[in-house]
């Protein structure tokens, strides 16, 4: 943290610099709010002066409340902790401890009454008149949650600068844009789009968790979306909706999962006029590149290119990244190294070289990506292994044309009589349904004689 540091512009500086055109707004299914509402107004139920230099959790039901709060807080708060929508209230205690939280902002503050040990203040619409913003600016830290972690949630530390630049090769900056994303803006992929819209003075339509994809697409059609992003799984789902005809974007972006040739071709066929790009980004490593030649994978000569703003290496089969867009540390866990001695972050995403191009093959440690949600095989194995008839199990990915991958399990049973595999399987699945989220439950359980163990005694895992 540097303080006070007037040099880097704050998010509000970027927003204000657009001239706040009338159409510059954030909309959801409840309507649109113009960013101009924050010019002399505030959506916070607490004076900005009282937030100055504090660590603030933004824990909202609606994305719009979180986005507006972030615009106001950057440059004023010491740290903004942007909570994803599925973060349970019970997990807030560890977030408060790890990030040194002093205040929670929520658009449903009453729901937190008696549940947390720190002050809770309201945020959300309507805006009310506000005194001028504090003149001195902090270089606020943005704490973002890494996806799919088990146990207590992990957060990495970014700044507005690491989140917004420098621009990567192939990124589109066409104007005038009308942005949207299937992502939640409280996740890295969605936040990238929000920040592009905010810095560009462009209107943006936000997704909503419970809104059926058909209704969202109709809303995007009415909105006139021109630039839109999502995971390949988001896009496959959209392509299966008759309402896909409502939109005709000029720029379609995929990230967060492996973009295969099939989904790229299907999108190009659905939107013949559009530029279809797939990007590689992660919460820890930031945005590395955009590929817009219509092909899966990326050109091999992008690796080890010297003068690039984002440097890439392939080492031990996985992609490593060094750039100004990396997160700087894990919050609350300073001993845990994010980058190696040379400053490269190991993304854990494995690649293989074929015909002058690198293709993503999966995750090195076997993490399974089900429609953008990560599943750690060990977590599922621990539940499968609870059954007394199970000696050991291995959970792995099976390819899916719909969600990229689904979870399956191989099970070695105890060597004794008195039970059948079918009965044991049904009992295991019943336990999984009690203890695991739907995307983590094995779709099939297969009985196997044995599972291979590697030289160091660990279960041999293969890539998704």
């Amino acid at each position: 943290m540097k303080m006070p540091n007037p040099d880097p512009p704050t998010l509000w500086d970027l927003v204000q610099k657009t001239g706040l055109p009338a159409e510059f707004s954030l909309s959801d299914s409840h309507g649109a709010v113009a960013l101009g509402a924050l010019d002399g107004g505030t959506c916070l139920g607490i004076e900005l002066e009282q937030v100055r230099g504090r660590t603030v959790v933004v824990y909202t039901e609606r994305q719009r409340s979180a986005a507006l709060a972030a615009v106001e807080l950057d440059g004023v708060a010491r740290r903004i902790v942007l909570c994803p929508p599925d973060l349970a209230v019970a997990k807030l205690a560890s977030v408060i401890a790890n990030a040194g939280v002093e205040l929670i902002l929520s658009d449903k503050p009453e729901a937190l009454a008696g549940q947390v040990d720190v002050r809770v203040a309201a945020c959300g619409l309507p805006a009310r008149p506000a005194p001028p913003r504090p003149a001195e600016a902090f270089e606020t830290e943005w704490l973002l949650f890494t996806s799919g972690t088990t146990g207590n949630p992990k957060m990495v530390v970014h700044t507005l600068q690491s989140l917004t630049g420098p621009a990567v090769a192939g990124a589109a900056h066409a104007a005038p844009a009308r942005w949207s994303t299937f992502y939640d803006i409280r996740r890295y992929g969605g936040l990238q789009i929000l920040l592009r819209a905010l810095a560009g003075g462009a209107p943006m339509a936000l997704s909503e968790a419970d809104e059926p994809v058909g209704e969202f697409l109709v809303r995007l059609g009415d909105f006139g979306v021109t630039h839109i992003s999502g995971t390949p799984s988001h896009w496959r789902r959209a392509l299966m909706s008759p309402a896909i005809r409502n939109i005709s974007p000029g720029y379609v972006r995929l990230s967060g999962e492996i973009a295969d040739q099939a989904v790229l071709k299907q999108l190009q066929s659905a939107f013949p006029q559009a530029k279809i790009a797939h990007a590689f980004a992660s919460t820890e490593a930031g945005v590395a590149f955009d590929v817009s030649d219509g092909l899966a994978g990326f050109p091999a000569d992008w690796v080890r290119r010297a003068d690039a703003p984002v440097e890439m290496r392939v080492q031990d089969g996985s992609l490593r990244i060094r750039s100004a867009r990396l997160a700087s540390a894990y919050a609350g866990d300073p001993a845990r190294q994010l980058a190696d001695a040379e400053g490269f972050v190991d993304t854990g995403d494995t690649v293989e070289l074929r015909d002058g191009r690198y293709y993503f093959t999966g995750r090195r440690e076997g993490v399974i990506n089900v429609g953008g949600l990560k599943v750690h095989p060990e977590e599922v194995e621990a539940v499968v292994n609870l059954h007394p008839n199970v000696r050991m199990s291995r959970v792995k990915a099976r390819k899916s044309p719909i969600t990229g991958a689904i979870v399956v399990a191989d099970v070695v049973l105890e060597d004794r009589d008195g039970f059948t595999f079918t009965q044991t399987r049904d009992e295991i699945l019943a336990t999984c349904r009690q203890l695991l989220a739907a995307h983590k439950i094995p779709v099939t359980l297969r009985e196997v004689e044995h599972l291979e163990i590697n030289a160091s005694g660990k279960l041999l895992r293969v890539n998704a």
């Binding site: 059926p212 994809v213 058909g214 799984s233 496959r236 789902r237 392509l239 299966m240 909706s241 008759p242 040739q261 099939a262 071709k265 299907q266 066929s269 089900v370 429609g371 099976r398 899916s400 044309p401 719909i402 969600t403 689904i406 399956v408 739907a438 995307h439 779709v443 099939t444």
Partner: protein, 87 residues
Amino acid sequence: MSDSTDISIRETIIGEIHRIAALHNKTLAALTDSLPLLESGLDSLCIAVLVASLDDALEIDPFSDDDELAFPVTLGDFIQLYEDAES
């Protein structure tokens, strides 16, 4: 799992849809050919499970090797995809 030699692909698909919906506590709409799959009550995960189950039951995966394949929108499209892949 159904035996594909005794009953039709359509019946197998409909049966699997009911089985998966029950497993995932989803309420199904009336299953007509014109029903958009995403309005059937199955979410993306259920449809992914359905495709995997049908691969096991029928040994057909029309999505596997066909980059040009258009995603099925209605239940009728979906069934047709499997019937075409078998013939």
